[in-house]
Symmetry: C2
Subunit: 246 residues, 2 copies
Amino acid sequence: MLILLIGKLAMNEKEFLKKYDIHDFDVPLCTVDMAIFGIIDNELNVLLVRRDEHPEKDKWALPGGFIDLKEDKNIDATAYRKLQEKTGVRSPYLEQIQTVGSGTRDSRGWSITVLYFALIDVNKVKDNLITERSRWIPVSKARRLGLAFDHQALVALANGRLKAKTTYSALPIELMPKEFTLTELQTVFETILERDLQLKAFRRRLLAADLVEETGNSKIAGKRPAKLYRSTGKDRNTTFSQSLKI
Amino acid sequence: MLILLIGKLAMNEKEFLKKYDIHDFDVPLCTVDMAIFGIIDNELNVLLVRRDEHPEKDKWALPGGFIDLKEDKNIDATAYRKLQEKTGVRSPYLEQIQTVGSGTRDSRGWSITVLYFALIDVNKVKDNLITERSRWIPVSKARRLGLAFDHQALVALANGRLKAKTTYSALPIELMPKEFTLTELQTVFETILERDLQLKAFRRRLLAADLVEETGNSKIAGKRPAKLYRSTGKDRNTTFSQSLKI
DNA sequence: TCAATAGTGTCTTTCAGACACTATGCT
DNA sequence: AGCATAGTGTCTGAAAGACACTATTGA
């Protein structure tokens, strides 16, 4: 390899690229992993798949895979593709979280993974994609499952980011169905933050920022009907100047 | 490659790993790039190097390079190593920003880079490391230099993150020398935020959060001597509940 | 009419913004 | 004394926290 490099010193760029072959170098394994969150029965769930190949065969893991150098224009495209394959959802909230890499996290060798998280309305997921080997699992239970590789830590990372963002944005709206009551939304916030919120302060914050609007419909859950709201679509960008206490 | 995969289906994990060779696969090029920031004459500077190899030879670029699969335990280690090579600084503030990857950003092929940013006191940088091909350049001027690859965008990304963090934390303290006046610190904040700050509000915020403490010394810049402060070391963790207006 | 859930009024607290004011040392 | 820079006092305003209160429905 050293000889290769020395040989390249005198070349111009075109000649250099002609001789360049990435397979001459030791490179890390490179994957994209997805933490896809959804709310089921007021609980935060993450979509996990059972690995059907070595290594860590049959263990639960975050969905993910390799970058397709032919098809994917950039890394976000890889993430969108994976998400599409696993859920069929068209335009989810998707955000890159962090890249984790080390010589020990994967038995195949030095590997890095680019971790993304996605927030989706579970109702939008195609039914046939939820199977014995591809399931929603409550984040609290995922801990006890002994996930593949360092995916335990990746779930914690993603969950931490979601929690942090929930203190200063309205991102959890992305987890809701088209129409929802503010009580339902507050419960989702409370689930993520793992603490109760003041009802008045919560509504005031969302309404003042114009993040939700009434649909005109209401929902009866036995007692007084609750007004139904829809997202105004501003939730992906809004950050409140003051964040909720932790 | 398909045949390889099929052949592996029946194996156990040990056999699988024995036959596994990453060079069988198409993998992206993978690098780590550093946006190292420092303050010189009240201006935000970034450390740039002139590339002395193809591709993009002789263009200015962010310092960076490949992961050393033998030496680096994890990606952070790669970043620390690069930083040490370029500055000699021992324990800088270092944080991963984002990973950028696409098929077009590097002429050698599909490539990803893990971008970090570091904040350092420029006085701590070893003199002999600042040369004709490794220089501090004001962020405002870096724009006009036509950086290599997509490094223009990477600098903007790093700068944006620094600016955002400066509205809700006291991170810029990491750019200061051991002792500094609050006026100097405020000027650094103003440089990063590209706007003036209220003197009273600035001091109140920092002092109330116990982020700086008096050293007992003072500094005469011609007129009334200004008290010198030092960091209490809390600046890396503190986030204010209320962020500064943009 | 009462239980249960939905939703409002309003006082308090916290902290940033604004700006007039005082303090100190050099010339 | 005057000036330039360092630093304080204090009022205002915005938004979160707390909590008592009212509203709407079904049984």
